[in-house]
């Protein structure tokens, strides 16, 4: 194992979360590498230091602010206390309320797309190509319908000539109807 590999697994090694084989490889490396050994020792010492860091005293000024919280909060909430806040339909707060946000987002997207389509050069050419495509598809559908009519007429003609050549009495009854 090289130094990088050892350091990537040092935490797991110190927490005994590596396999015995892996632990053996790490220990072999540590026996040979002074730098990694030094770090490992520091990490062991750090674990103890971190969990026993001395506590810091809050300042008297902070305590004064904390003691004063009930007064501040009462002052802030007292106008609305006891009754639900009424929000006018014309107020900004009403339209920016969370319930309207999906609607506002959708409207914004629609406006952006519409302005891109109607007021920009690429939008106009897109519009033009879309209408061309539509007309092309329409005329193609018409051509298909005409072709279908021609085929039907031919089939009918073929049926008539067949009937004439064979004689109407030889045809099945269903066809006579």
């Amino acid at each position: 194992m090289n130094c990088r590999e050892v350091r990537e697994t040092l935490s797991a090694y110190l927490e005994k979360e590596v396999s015995p084989a892996m632990a053996g490889k790490i220990e072999t490396h540590l026996a040979e590498c002074e730098n990694c050994r030094l770090i490992t020792e520091e990490l062991k010492a750090l674990n103890k230091s971190l969990s026993s860091l001395p506590e810091v005293e809050p300042s008297p000024a902070l305590l004064t602010k904390l003691y004063a919280i009930p007064g501040q909060v009462e002052l802030e909430i007292s106008p609305a206390a006891g009754e639900p806040e009424k929000v006018s339909i014309f107020s900004r707060k009403f339209w920016l309320s969370p319930a309207f946000q999906p609607l506002l987002v959708s409207l914004t997207v629609i406006l952006i797309v519409a302005s891109l389509v109607f007021f920009t050069q690429p939008g106009r050419s897109f519009q033009k190509s879309l209408s061309l495509e539509f007309h092309r598809a329409y005329s193609q559908a018409q051509r298909v319908l005409v072709k279908a009519g021609v085929i039907t007429d031919r089939l009918n003609g073929f049926r008539e000539s067949l009937r004439a050549s064979l004689g109407s009495d030889q045809l099945p009854k269903s066809d006579q109807n």
């Binding site: 090289n2 130094c3 990088r4 350091r7 990537e8 697994t9 040092l10 935490s11 797991a12 730098n35 030094l38 770090i39 520091e42 990490l43 750090l46 674990n47 230091s49 971190l50 969990s51 860091l53 001395p54 506590e55 810091v56 005293e57 809050p58 300042s59 902070l62 305590l63 602010k65 904390l66 003691y67 919280i69 009930p70 501040q72 909060v73």
Partner: protein, 187 residues
């Protein structure tokens, strides 16, 4: 007076009860915030925010549960959310300020001095860690959470938490060794 009684009196609007609650928990919450924030000023602001949140959420407290555990969870969640939301902390936060370290229990002045020096070095090194690394290290080493709990609290994959904790420890060791004159070269 039991803490639940104090809470009840707070809900009834007794100012004295609120003062008692602040006296009971301010030190613990301030230290928690200090470990997360890395600077005394920010820790004071966070402590104030947490107590404001406590005051506004006090009515939601369920008296069947342990108040200390409930409050600490509220504080930790607030700190984690704040940490994830802002992420504006500079990587080099340490500005040379020295924490007010309390007197050590040890009678031997030399040992006491060495203990204080070590604690100061560790705290300063902790303040120099990038926020993401410091947060996982605080949760793991100081708050004592396991990796799975940290992953679920800060909403990152388990593997990322493990690798961040490892990187945080290595970085902390590097900073401390550099200060004490030890050799440490990252590969």
């Amino acid at each position: 007076m039991e803490v639940k009684e104090i809470v009840q009196k707070c809900l009834e609007g007794e100012t004295g009860a609120w003062k008692m609650l602040v006296d009971c928990y301010s030190k613990r919450i301030f230290n928690l915030a200090y470990q997360f924030a890395g600077s005394r000023q920010e820790a004071e602001d966070l402590t104030q925010d947490i107590f404001l949140k406590l005051y506004s959420s006090l009515a939601k407290y369920d008296f069947n549960h342990d108040f200390t555990a409930w409050f600490l969870t509220l504080a930790r969640n607030y700190l984690i959310d704040e940490f994830r939301r802002t992420r504006i902390e500079k990587s080099q936060r340490f500005e040379g300020e020295e924490p007010d370290l309390p007197a050590c229990e040890d009678d031997n002045p030399e040992i006491r001095y060495l203990g204080e020096e070590k604690a100061r070095a560790v705290r300063q090194a902790l303040q120099q860690l990038p926020p993401d690394l410091r947060m996982v290290l605080v949760l793991r080493e100081i708050e004592g959470f396991n990796y799975e709990e940290i992953a679920s609290r800060i909403k990152v994959p388990l593997g990322t938490v493990k690798s961040r904790v490892n990187r945080a420890r290595l970085e902390l060791a590097r900073i401390i060794l550099a200060k004490t004159g030890g050799k440490y070269e990252l590969p």
